[in-house]
Symmetry: C2
Subunit: 367 residues, 2 copies
């Protein structure tokens, strides 16, 4: 039966130009016969050091998925930051076609268009589950596509850190007063919030954080969470480790693809690329859940890190300022407004539901 | 360059029997040339009514992903419960090869092997995020594979409901006393817990719940959550809608595949099938987040449903009994013990981490 089916398909494949008029299974098989002889060599440039735990390994995971599912028809090779282009030039490199794919996070490109930050994370914004639900079942992805289209790029969510840690501090945070004058490495919207709370946000690349914190150039720094933070050795030079990461409650990592390179692919390979991104998106998030606690245990039990929760009144003030900063970002232009409205509407709904499901359950099991 | 690469590959493909000795890209391309002419017609039997929201549509989503990515090389057709075989016979149907794939949930097969319930959900157990992290980054999947191997099946996680609702009640639950004699439709481990709390668990198929609750044959029933519950119309006949779903905090849906059918596929198609399952797994979970709140709004604001939280002392007792029931299940035989130990070890870790990340964040944003 399979053989007969194939012969029938082959007959259809021989007739050209009928794809649009034929049934789904027939038009698909036309692609089988036309595309098996072609392979695509793709470069993926990233903002991470090669194989950086979680983030860089997530990019490798994505490439492997594409290569395996496409049976080598697409052969993606991953380049760490600086190997082909510096970290913050990958957006342009993919836009101009010198690489086909990039792996980073949308808030890095706020200089290109500030509202892109909505597709990474916002302070006191959505968690990983909510972001993905908005992107795939709430209209978020269509808006992201619209925002990247002007750069000739096709976006996909391709990873998530989940809720991060608030960061490493050498000053105790007991009241709002303690934020005044605090020199902290905290980029983006979180930095703007800290500034409005009286602090001094600075932006430094990851590689300079340890020395800056050690020398006292900064009083505090956020990074990611225990899995990545342990590797950086912050516990050796910082007094307090604060949670939770109000400024990055579910940071979405991205894969973006050069539009022409994407359009050149037959449909099934496009589908493979997009599905691989979705699996990479979930997998990174799961890996962080699995690894963060082991690292936290090491930090707390072995290195005796002083783990602290940010005080309630500090949280309240930061929440209020976050809402202000996020709304301002949403009012910059018509597309930003459309993104902001969609994000906000979805978030209000998901928050109400998660309050009586996920949150209620996490609380009751803790007692 | 692409053309040259292909020619080089084709040469390798012509030499046979060298797959194991050649580099990765070479052996892959051997598959390209040998497998493009073959298609597989697969049947997916399910425990859901055809296109049942969330669950049945999740099975369709999975089939579409496989069909699209494989370019029709695998053509999966989905059958609703009863179309080919009744809902609870799909496990045997796939095991004996009359269908290639099944879509259900592992706790349905507890009659085959009771410890399979760990791969669905346990009362007061892991959430969706934790279950997936355990399966893909904590050794859970290997144990699931071991458990299904004896039936000639290959398992995959292929959906999740997230935290469910506690259910629809016609009796108020204010104290532990109110559970005594309560006739409630609640199958599986949750039912056993209710029994130990003095209640009378009954198991009824979904189609009989409305009438049974209406006629007073049962005092209460659990089902899934607002999205599915609204469609069933329980609000018309039940007084109270309780949360959260302590008995099913993150129910994993599954896809299982006949081992011989799976082994017959070339590697890239196996990879496509497994990746499609992972995306279907995430997608269902996201769809529930996106849809549940709209349905909850309709229930509460339009139908004036009386939404209630289970009281703390009831929760404490149910938690204690759940631990007892789950541990007993884990002590039934050596494999069950291995599963239980792995589940418990992972859960203790993930719970500790989520306490200061996900839970702390969900609480602080609610204020």
């Amino acid at each position: 039966m399979e053989r007969r089916k194939f012969l029938q398909y082959a007959g259809v494949g021989a007739a050209s130009g009928l794809t649009g008029c034929k049934g789904e299974s027939e038009s698909k098989t036309q692609q089988v016969s036309t595309n098996t002889n072609k392979t695509w060599e793709w470069k993926m440039v990233t903002t991470w050091p090669k194989n950086f735990p979680g983030l860089g390994t997530g990019a490798e995971f994505l490439a492997k998925q594409i290569n395996a599912m496409s049976n080598g028809h697409i052969n993606v090779k991953v380049y760490g930051a600086g190997e082909l282009v510096p970290a913050f030039e990958i957006f342009d490199a993919v836009a101009n076609g010198s690489a086909q794919m990039g792996h980073g996070s949308a808030y890095y490109w706020k200089g290109k268009y500030s509202a892109l930050q909505f597709f990474s994370t916002t302070p006191f914004g959505m968690t990983a589950m909510e972001m993905n639900a908005w992107l795939y079942h709430g209209g978020g992805m269509e808006l992201w596509q619209e925002a990247y289209k002007q750069f000739g790029l096709v976006p996909a969510a391709a990873g998530n850190t989940n809720v991060q840690m608030a960061g490493w501090f050498n000053k105790e945070i007991n009241t709002l007063e303690d934020l005044k004058g605090l020199k902290m490495r905290i980029p983006g919207l979180g930095g703007e919030v800290l500034k409005r709370a009286g602090g001094t946000p600075v932006n430094l690349p990851g590689g300079e954080l340890f020395t800056s914190l050690q020398s006292g150039t900064i009083d505090a720094t956020e990074w990611v969470g225990p899995y990545n933070d342990l590797a950086f050795g912050f516990h050796k030079i910082a007094k307090y480790y604060y949670y939770p990461g109000w400024h990055e409650p579910g940071t979405t990592l991205e894969c973006f693809i050069n539009q022409s390179a994407y359009d050149e692919l037959p449909e099934n390979l496009q589908s493979i690329v997009m599905t691989a991104c979705r699996v990479a998106n979930q997998d990174m998030s799961l890996e962080y859940i699995a690894r963060n606690n082991d690292a936290l245990n090491t930090l707390v039990n072995e290195h005796k890190v002083d783990l602290r929760k940010l005080p309630d009144d500090v949280i309240s003030k930061l929440a209020e300022l976050s809402q202000e900063v996020t709304a301002e970002l949403g009012y910059t232009d018509p597309l930003a407004r459309k993104i902001f409205d969609s994000y906000t509407e979805f978030y209000n709904k998901s928050r109400a539901w998660l309050d009586i499901s996920e949150r209620a359950y996490l609380n009751l099991r803790t007692g």
